[in-house]
């Protein structure tokens, strides 16, 4: 069976440095950091007191949600709702009035999350259980802490009638969601899929990472310097949050309705390292990463040297030099021919379950507008990355991007790769 071609027709995002796609484009172009110091983290004795969390969006909530919606939505659901509705509108798709019984039978959503409604668990469930006041939990705790909270809410907001579910593969979640949704459309099971990831910026989520001592704690006084992927002075990632969602569509469906097409997804790969060969719950098996990249390239039917731009996973930890080496081997290139590479996390932190989604939107924006954004804080490139220094976007690079790769690698030793080709009319 021939696989159907899949294109991107809509993008939506709410990120630590932008509350809309247009703001995100501008922030990426200008290299605007969304990393801030949080007094709450300092008050709670966190070692790392900086993070990325969307803010200033509250006044526009009524444009997206009813008062009834908001009574049963926590932060991760709000982020996913904003990004999903924005992507849907950006694709030129009509929003069905809630008072009608019309359903979009051919449209679905795979939108995942990493750690879920921790704010609801912390504020509603645990205190009431400890106080033995179960009734006081109210009616909406389950829908806010269930793993599928974000996709389920989008299903109702947009009257989706196809598969509606949430995947979870830690920091690979957003990219995995896109791959799964591509597959569904390729095999003719849906015409339109929302795909991406969301995560809340909750102190209780970030606490576990702080306890692991994997967060950036040396730049509490200078937050915009804290997220330093590929830097010699990187010493941990900055936790982020938000949502990034794509509208994916079969090419024939998009063309039939005259949709604007950003890009075609020409190759994908998902794999895992089995916690062998150096891989573990928290570290990647380098061989599995290289295999995933090579499989994505093979699936796309391109050569590694055809790639114009890499949106790296690159979190700002000890793993960055290994990742760069994995890109070289996976793409089959030399240090001199590694495509231009940057880390969107340098501006917005590591969005965990939302990372792959927000970074996919960043990739589409750079491809559409012809630039590779500055990878912040790379003025002191790590010694092991120096051979690749000409590929690192220390400053913004204006260039046409025809083919770009986005990969994510997550706890659990899991990997996801997506390859995009700019759509030429």
């Amino acid at each position: 069976m021939d696989k159907r071609r899949v294109v991107v027709t809509g993008i939506g995002a709410i990120t630590p440095n932008a509350n809309s796609v247009e703001e995100f484009r501008q922030a990426l172009f200008e290299g605007k950091s969304g990393i801030r110091h949080f007094a709450q983290l300092a008050e709670h004795n966190f070692s790392a007191q900086v993070g990325g969390r969307p803010h200033g969006y509250e006044s526009k909530l009524s444009e997206y949600f009813t008062s009834e919606d908001l009574l049963a939505m926590n932060e991760v659901m709000i982020f996913a709702g904003i990004a999903g509705i924005d992507a849907w509108k950006d694709a030129g798709l009509p929003i069905i009035d809630r008072k009608t019984d019309e359903v979009n039978w051919n449209a679905g959503a795979i939108v995942g999350l990493g750690l879920g409604g921790m704010d609801t668990i912390a504020e509603k469930v645990i205190p009431n259980v400890l106080a033995k006041k179960i009734r006081r939990i109210g009616s909406s705790a389950v829908e806010q802490i269930m793993g599928s909270s974000v996709s389920a809410k989008l299903g109702g907001l947009l009257a989706l009638g196809n598969q509606v579910s949430s995947n979870s593969s830690a920091c690979n979640t957003g990219t995995e969601a896109i791959v799964e949704a591509v597959n569904r459309i390729q095999f003719g099971l849906a015409d339109i899929m929302l795909a991406g990831g969301a995560e809340s910026g909750d102190i209780n989520i970030w606490a576990g990472f702080d306890a692991m001592r994997v967060l950036s704690s040396k730049f509490n006084e200078d937050p915009e310097k804290a997220s330093r992927p590929m830097s010699a002075t990187a010493a941990g990632f900055v936790p982020g949050s938000g949502a990034g969602i794509l509208v994916l569509e079969s090419l024939e469906h998009a063309q039939k309705r005259g949709a604007r097409i950003y890009a075609e997804i020409i190759g994908t790969a998902l794999n895992s390292g089995g916690h062998r060969m150096g891989g573990s719950m928290t570290a990647p098996n380098a061989t599995s990463v290289q295999r995933a990249i090579a499989q994505g390239v093979a699936d796309a039917g391109i050569k590694g040297t055809d790639v114009d731009y890499i949106n790296g996973h690159l979190t700002g930890t000890f793993a960055d030099p290994y990742e760069i080496n994995n890109w070289r081997i996976g793409l089959g290139v030399t240090p001199e021919t590694l495509p231009h590479i940057n880390s969107t996390k340098s501006m917005i932190g590591h969005g965990l379950g939302s990372a792959g989604g927000m970074e996919a939107v960043a990739l589409i924006l750079q491809m559409t507008h012809g630039f590779v954004h500055r990878s912040l804080n790379t003025e002191d490139i790590h010694e092991q990355i120096m051979p690749y220094a000409n590929s690192v976007a220390v400053n913004r690079i204006e260039k046409e991007i025809k083919i770009a790769v986005k990969a994510s690698f997550g706890f659990g030793d899991v990997n996801g790769v997506t390859i995009y080709r700019k759509w030429e009319n």
Partner: protein, 81 residues
């Protein structure tokens, strides 16, 4: 507190849950919370919690189950304050 004052507070508490806002303008004691105002039945749990907070009362599950109209809510609350 008069019945009308209780009724006004009950309507105010219900407002964010009401899907059929057209019917909010003509609320009477016989207005059915679920069928006329189209409040999601599962949210009645939250409405009862809000009554408890607003009027400083306790409502048992059995009493909550009997509340179907605005008048039912007002009568139940009036008997407890």
């Amino acid at each position: 507190m008069t019945e009308n004052e209780i009724k006004d507070k009950v309507v105010e508490i219900l407002k964010p849950y009401v899907r059929n806002t057209d019917n909010l303008g003509s609320v009477s004691n016989s207005t059915h919370i679920i069928t006329d105002l189209e409040v999601n039945s599962s949210r009645l749990v939250d409405v009862i919690l809000a009554f408890e907070d607003e009027f400083d009362i306790e409502v048992s599950d059995e009493e909550a189950d009997k509340v179907q109209t605005i008048g039912d809510a007002v009568a139940m609350i009036k008997a407890k304050i």
